[in-house]
């Protein structure tokens, strides 16, 4: 099953390498990973998407906890949460396709953020499923480049992951 694990990490050199190394070392999957400092510059917030059975996920959270620089973590997918991913897609856009791509982007509430004589770059934000669906919807349009940020997530309601 797919899990979204959110981690508060000491913002120290080597901390990220240690966390990523743990996944490689123990054969766990990383489907996506995003990381950036928080409003408290001493802390980084990291969102990690992984998959595995319950036993594997339990080991992942326990092993993450063991890392000295991991301050706190939560499995967002265990309760109500919001997840978002940002995607930039550069597509070939010539002739009639220019309108078609624009319409498709509108339907997905995407924005065209860069234009050239032969290309559009579309920015889209949403769940990973939505981004997948947009790519599917672009049938017939040559895709030149896709960049995805990986998932960021946060709990719904009063629940927070802070110090």
């Amino acid at each position: 099953m797919r899990h979204i694990i959110s981690v508060l990490l000491e913002n120290e050199s080597g901390a990220l390498a240690r966390l990523v190394g743990l996944f490689a070392q123990r054969g766990y999957n990383i489907d996506s990973l995003t990381v950036a400092p928080t409003e408290d510059a001493t802390l980084s917030r990291l969102t990690l998407v992984t998959h595995g059975n319950d036993q594997v996920i339990e080991q992942i959270t326990k092993q993450l906890h063991k890392l000295i620089e991991v301050v706190k973590l939560t499995d967002l997918s265990e309760s109500a949460h919001i997840e978002r991913e940002l995607m930039l897609v550069k597509v070939k856009a010539v002739g009639e396709q220019r309108d078609e791509i624009k319409r498709c982007a509108d339907i997905f509430r995407g924005q065209i953020v860069d234009v050239s004589a032969t290309t559009y770059t579309v920015q889209l934000v949403g769940t990973s499923d939505k981004l997948d669906a947009f790519i599917q919807a672009l049938t017939g349009t040559p895709i030149l480049e896709v960049v995805r940020s990986g998932v960021s997530g946060i709990s719904r309601g009063d629940k927070t992951l802070t110090m």
């Binding site: 000491e10 080597g14 240690r18 339990e58 080991q59 326990k62 000295i68």
Partner: protein
Amino acid sequence: MTSQSKQAEMLSGAAMIIRALADEGVEYLYGYPGGAVLHIYDALFQQTKVKHVLVRHEQAATHMADAYARATGKAGVVLVTSGPGATNAVTGIATAYMDSIPMVVLTGQVMSHLIGEDAFQETDMLGISRPIVKHNMSVRRPEDIPYLIKKAFYIAQSGRPGPVVLDIPKDMTIPSQKFPYHYPDDVKLRSYQPKLKGHSGQIKKAVTALLAAKKPILYAGGGVIMGGASEELTELARYLNLPVTNTLMGLGAYPGGDKQFIGMLGMHGSYEANQTMHGADLILAVGARFDDRVTNNTKKFCPDATIIHIDIDPASISKTINAHIPIVGLVKPVLTEMLDILKQKKKKLDAAALEKWWQQINEWRQVHGGRYDTETPLLKPQYVIEQVSKITKGDAFVCSDVGQHQMFAAQYYSFNKPNRWINSGGLGTMGFGLPAAMGVKLNFPDADVVCVTGEGSIQMNIQELSTCKQYGLGVKIINLNNGYLGMVKQWQDMNYESRYASSYMDSLPDFIKLAEAYGHVGIRVTKPEELQPALERAFVEHKDQLVFLDIHIDPKEHVYPMQIPGGAINEMFLSKTERT
């Protein structure tokens, strides 16, 4: 980070390192000098509190420090230079990591401005050591050194212990650059707060389950040794009359000569220990981790047992075998709390059921009983270990290498005290034995310290015979010489129709001459009747000297019992011709 008191002494980074070690109570530092650590060595030279032991290869320094930690529970300390000095220490760091041994390893590094430029003797030691340490850090500012050293000891010794590497660029130790020195009393980390006390509700639940058991077993591992809980464990076992088995790492946690002790369990465990585990309706696992050398096939593992698992590391619980009642905490306070509840309740197990269980266990004891062929004219390794156990009254520190001799030592030496059996259980590091024995002998000069080894393992760090001479380390080397890499050969006999691919060692040195060349005593033993007098000479006549006993044993011997691959814990080969 460092508090700056007005009277603080001004010290260089190098001097701060040595002073911090002294303030931490470190007596010995094991290491090898080199370019990146010369400032530190110079600081070491100018004081007398911290003494340095010069090994002949950095791996030996790590094993010496590791063995000191295993014998005392306190972190051993290593100092090596950058590049090859650091990489040579890697095997020893991994050895300590796999067995959860506290160790602080100080590695030199090239100057900060050269890092990343492939400078002479530069290697990314933080990167290399990351998967095999509890934690690693580097010094960025010399004034942080006292704090970082305190933090290294705190992390290494608290919670589930392990090695910590501190990488020190050379420019952090420049003698002319001085900073106020203050050694912190303690360190608090918001991201690391190991749980100490067990959850009282869980402990009560465990006691209730334990009291309801009809076929219990106490399964104790290395956590009891490192957790200093041998006394509490023994008291609990005796209070409830529980059968006790120890893992390879746990030997000595419960007295080996006691009638409630049913031997080591697992791959080469006793018949009765493996049968008792398999048949148990309750397993009280204390500081053990259900590793693959214990469980055999996890799918067939102890089908009827309720499992109580006490461990300091939550990640060890339900990792391979699901625990019904997990208790996270230091084993010592948890066992004490269990004992208190039991004594308050004044309850014991169902006496009739327990009596029946013991009858069954005693029957199992008769089946194999550690027997081996005594009819042959050849010297048997089991007999050698029994005789060593006898002459040292089960009271020696036994430091083992890795292979058949390690298993014979585990099976046939009767460990009556904790911290006396020093072996590389998790990583299985050949070459561990001699440096380990040296580390123990240096710190316990009056004790008998034995290195049980084979002609394969001993040659992996034989250069340390020179260190032994320099520091007068009178360890007794029991070299069980069969001319083969015995454990490899055993597997080749059992699984590869005796095709001995690279397991025969031709051109062995004359170990007697070799020992003498290094200034020690060498004795060769080739017949059973020569053993006793040779041991007398080694342990009595040459009590204070290093004696290398080259003992030629039956080259065909196998270690039994041996679990059958893929089977349950209780499925074993009992000899070359018998199986369960």
